[in-house]
């Protein structure tokens, strides 16, 4: 409860600073909080915000979802079947070190400017942290616990589902969180570089025409999506981590 109060106080301070900045900087560059609220009302009334939000969310969740479906199993396979992991490791790290933006022209050539291209761009950004963290989690599995399970006569499948997988969950969740953030960034990048649509599209339009109040509404909407997704994952983390000492959770 105390933390919630502190957070609200900090938010109020931020809005105060924002308002201060809007009065001091040339009016056209930083809109006042109130002007931003009015712009939000306008955008909602026109239905623009919602349709852009819908477009962005659908490609974001599509790309992120595929990244989860690929990243977690691939990471687990690499972590449990060591020859596969050792073989692929270096390629995975190489790919994750390459700025994925570099692939965008290539993707456009093959997939055009439509949603498929966007989803692929998001997927490429989100899948790497998910895969690498899942891999690390599988590698990090507790050898002593595995030996205990063997001593009890547990079969490989049970050791995997009851010891290795749960042990990797904290790592996987970290991967999901980082992946969610990068996926959101890549959503905007994709909407700026391919067919200009969604929230990224509005960002480009309002940015280029200096309609800063509207521009701020879009930025805040993106921030809000980020907060909602990461908080949802954190909630999951707490739920799955109930076995830890309670003070860790709070």
């Amino acid at each position: 409860m105390k933390i919630a109060a502190y957070r609200l106080a900090f938010l109020a301070a931020l809005i105060g600073l924002w308002w201060l900045a809007s009065t001091m900087v040339a009016r056209n560059l930083v809109p006042s909080p109130w002007a931003t609220v009015l712009a939000a009302q306008r955008l909602i009334a026109e239905g623009r915000l919602m349709s852009a939000l819908g477009e962005s969310l659908s490609i974001y969740l599509g790309g992120y979802g595929v990244a989860i479906l690929v990243g977690i199993p691939a990471g687990l396979v690499m972590g449990t079947i060591r020859p596969i992991g050792k073989t692929l490791e270096i390629f995975v790290y190489a790919l994750s070190a390459t700025p994925r933006v570099a692939f965008i022209p290539l993707i456009i050539v093959f997939l055009g400017l439509g949603p498929q291209a966007k989803i692929l761009i998001i997927f490429l950004g989100a899948v790497m942290p998910i895969l690498i963290n899942t891999y690390a989690g599988a590698l990090n599995s507790d050898q002593e616990l595995i030996e205990m399970a063997r001593s009890v006569g547990a079969k490989k499948s049970r050791i995997f589902t009851q010891i290795m997988l749960p042990g990797a969950v904290p790592f996987i969740l970290v991967g999901l969180r980082v992946g969610a953030t990068i996926g959101l960034i890549n959503t905007v990048v994709a909407e700026l570089y391919t067919a200009v649509k969604g929230l990224g599209g509005l960002l480009a339009i309002y940015g280029n025409t200096f309609r800063m109040a509207e521009y701020f509404v879009i930025v805040l909407t993106l921030a809000l999506i980020g907060v909602i997704v990461t908080e949802a994952l954190r909630f999951l983390e707490v739920r799955l981590g109930r076995w830890r000492r309670s003070e860790v959770i709070v």
Binding site: M148, V152, G153, R244
Partner: protein, 288 residues
């Protein structure tokens, strides 16, 4: 028709009772280390444990006690020599119970879940499994903690969960690696008696690793004294104290006092003459 059947059964179990349950012959094991040379954990170890025996393994740190237990369980294989349990190469499973030195509890499972983990293949029926788990959780005095997670327990309580898990499968062979090391003195004494009772009823084989000379003598039929670098068996001593030992003051017996003094002396010399030991060359005699 009944009589001959019973006869053959009796003679079969007689043979079994005389034949050793666990046999180690010329067992050696070297662990490779990063430094290259490798550690000789065991060298030419011969040990034979008859059915129904309670055997304590006693010796300074690093002399290969844990390694012996892991081999008997079939978790690791010897580099040379042979390990036979009931005449076969051992396979891990519910007919052997292992209490590990470092508890090894599943942190995301409750106390009950941890005990049930060992029972999963043995008792497919959920209710039966739960009933069995609860029985052993109660036996180790943790009745009120069935739903607690390991992180909520003290070290001694965790060790008792590990003990309950090993006992719950009602194994023929119990391998215990310092199972009472972090249990407080009072509980420890209760657990020792409880263990002796269980062992008396079941007549299972027990290999019990301990650093406590008193505990080694108190529990065992035989004390196996081991020495380090390379890990080897120095001596096997028959305890020869009457059972049940909880019905009289064992510690006051002349035999107990004699054994205790002898084993202390052996271990002290071992530690003081081991160049690798931290206490090498110290003159502890004059300090007394």
């Amino acid at each position: 028709m009944i009589a001959p059947d019973a006869l053959t059964q009796a003679s079969a179990s007689d043979v079994k009772a005389n034949a050793p349950r666990i046999v180690l012959q010329g067992v050696s094991k070297t662990f490779s280390s990063n430094k290259g040379s490798g550690t000789v954990a065991l060298k030419d170890v011969d040990l034979s444990v008859r059915d129904g025996a309670f055997v304590s393994l006693l010796g300074p740190s690093g002399c290969g006690k844990t390694t012996v237990l892991r081999m008997v369980n079939g978790l690791i294989k010897p580099d040379s020599g042979s390990v036979l349990v009931s005449g076969k190469v051992p396979e891990p499973g519910p007919d052997m119970g292992f209490v590990f030195q470092s508890f090894r509890l599943i942190p995301w499972s409750s106390v009950r879940g941890n005990v049930e983990f060992a029972l999963a293949d043995l008792l497919p029926d959920k209710a039966e499994r739960r009933e069995r788990a609860d029985r052993y959780i109660e036996l180790v005095g943790l009745k009120r903690f069935g739903d607690a997670y390991p992180s909520e327990l003290s070290g001694g309580m965790r060790q008792r969960v590990a003990l309950a898990r090993a006992l719950a499968t009602e194994p023929k062979i119990l391998l215990m690696d310092e199972p009472f090391a972090s249990i407080d003195a009072q509980t420890r004494e209760l657990m020792q008696i409880e263990l002796m009772r269980l062992w008396t009823v079941r007549r299972s084989v027990a290999l019990f690793v301990t650093h406590s000379v008193d505990e080694a003598i108190l529990l065992a039929d035989q004390v196996v004294l081991m020495g380090p670098r390379p890990g080897r068996i120095l001596e096997v001593i028959d305890v020869g104290l009457e059972r049940p030992r909880w019905s009289y003051d064992v510690r006051a017996e002349p035999r107990f006092i004699e054994l205790r003094a002898y084993l202390w002396d052996r271990i002290r010399t071992l530690v003081l003459t081991d160049p690798e030991s931290d206490f090498y060359g110290r003159d502890l005699g004059s300090a007394v």
